[in-house]
Symmetry: C2
Subunit: 270 residues, 2 copies
């Protein structure tokens, strides 16, 4: 059956880098992958598209309406046949990102393009409003992975996402569950222990520890994922290990968010 | 008359660091300052409050309703008498950040606390939806400063904010105008020329170039602004110069946003 997973986390934490490399590693195993960027930055699929910022669904809907859009207008084939979509951002100053994200999913569904072995949603997690929670509320993102580092503010964002998952998991449509925590390292002291401790306190577990490695920047300069640019690197191996964990994962939990003072004392403990 | 200014920019670009130091520099000139954080991270006023994350208005409204809130519940005095408020984030998964921000302003108005020589709004600019544009739509943020670096994605966020200002400047209530561009350096090649060029192409100007300086991290470790921790440093001088420019500024423009390909070629040119 089709697996629908979402990566949520603070802006700049490494969601898109992790998503693109995860998609690439999964496609190397022969799986049919659809990656949908749900961040107004619209750069989720950039490294899969060799540096190109593909047209966004929201821009196209604003220019031409959604009636006559075709699959070819909004779905682009990137590295290894991975299908790429960018939802884009709301109409500046007036729109709602949530309405645009849902509209994107409904258009893909209507066109019969919301399919694959795995659909990967890359979603901004700074603002856990009704808008950005749409992929969870409407039952699209069934397995949520939190991307975080050991920094207090990125744990704070991850904890907020847990509050949303907990609240939404009680809804009929909400099949959303927390599938695990991915630590994308920022090289702070005792980071692996800290994030692993955080993960178990919120009733989950750390499923991957991705080192901070300059090969990521070198791959970006060459407009490729690490999987494509440096397939034999230890960093590519880390993304492949993550791909294996995602495929094998059967643990889906309802998280237990922490209070702010518990979060602060956890961060200071390490 | 009271000046109402807002700093908008991409997450992590340095809005809160710049806001807190700007407020501190302005308060050193004897001015009465109110700083309001409008970012779910709720850490806008942290260095003014010696490391404390003050209670947010949205959390208090969710716990106790807004009827019986007093000024003492939501306004905290920080460095040099600067009054600090944090709007906080929406109810995770269901709320809208915009409704919370507006509710915060209305509660402060009702309590007679939305006053001072300068009110400084520190607003997230990654998502320029109707929610985060509220300070501009409702006529609170009259002078908007864009905080950006020379990186493509931070210029992209700044350009999106310009689209919102342009669109909202035509409304009756919308007195919002672009007052200038603040470059918070990330030490990329030819950054000052690039950001200055960007500013003039959008019909504005660069009002400050703030160096990237490790004294910011040292001040943070001591839970203070640079103005308080290292008042004689060149970095403190840069924030004081910004304060002077903000006080003297009379230029308020309606911006002309760039197309995405013009933005990309500008970034690659440098
Ligand atoms: N494991 C890593 N090692 C080194 N740099 C990284 C790593 N993960 C992300 N980065 C860097 O961080 C930047 C931001 O990551 P990105 O994936 O765009 O974040 P997000 O999608 O969460 O906003 C990228 O440009 C990339 O260079
Ligand atoms: N001029 C600067 N020099 C060095 N570091 C800076 C500077 N401005 C910001 N920073 C660093 O960047 C981080 C993010 O800045 P912050 O003000 O929190 O961003 P924002 O409010 O836009 O999310 C801060 O923790 C600070 O350490
Ligand atoms: S729900 Fe979220 S995305 Fe929509 S307008 Fe409100 S803050 Fe913006
Ligand atoms: Mg991203
Ligand atoms: Mg901030």
């Amino acid at each position: 059956t089709m697996k629908q997973i979402a990566l949520y986390g603070k802006g700049g934490i490494g969601k898109s880098t992790t998503s693109a490399n995860l998609s690439a590693a999964l496609s190397d195993q022969g799986l049919d992958i659809l990656q949908i960027g749900c961040d107004p930055k619209r750069d989720s699929t950039r490294m899969l598209m060799h540096g190109r910022l593909i047209p966004t669904v929201m821009d196209l809907v604003r220019e031409r309406g959604d009636r006559d859009l075709t699959v070819g207008d909004i779905v682009f084939e990137g590295y290894n046949g991975i299908r790429c979509v960018e939802a884009g951002g709301p109409e500046p100053g007036v729109g709602c990102a949530g309405r645009g994200i849902i509209a994107t999913f409904q258009i893909l569904e209507r066109l019969g393009a919301l399919k694959g072995d795995i659909i990967l949603y890359d979603v901004l997690g700074d603002v856990v409003c009704g808008g950005f929670a749409m992929p969870m509320r409407e039952g699209y993102a069934e397995e949520v992975y939190l991307v975080t580092s050991g920094e207090l503010m990125s744990l704070y964002a991850a904890n907020n996402i847990c509050k949303a998952i907990k609240r939404l998991s009680a809804r009929v449509k909400g099949r959303c569950r927390l599938a695990g925590v991915i630590c994308n390292a920022k090289n702070i002291e005792n980071e692996e222990e800290l994030v692993s401790d955080f993960a178990s306190r919120i009733n989950s577990r750390m499923v991957a520890f991705i080192p901070r490695d300059p090969v990521v920047q070198r791959s970006e300069l060459n407009k490729m994922t690490v999987i494509e640019y440096a397939p034999d690197s230890s960093q590519a191996a880390a993304y492949r290990t993550l791909a294996g964990s995602v495929l094998e994962n059967t643990r889906l939990d309802i998280p237990e968010p922490l209070e702010i003072d518990e979060l602060e004392s956890l961060a200071y403990e390490y």
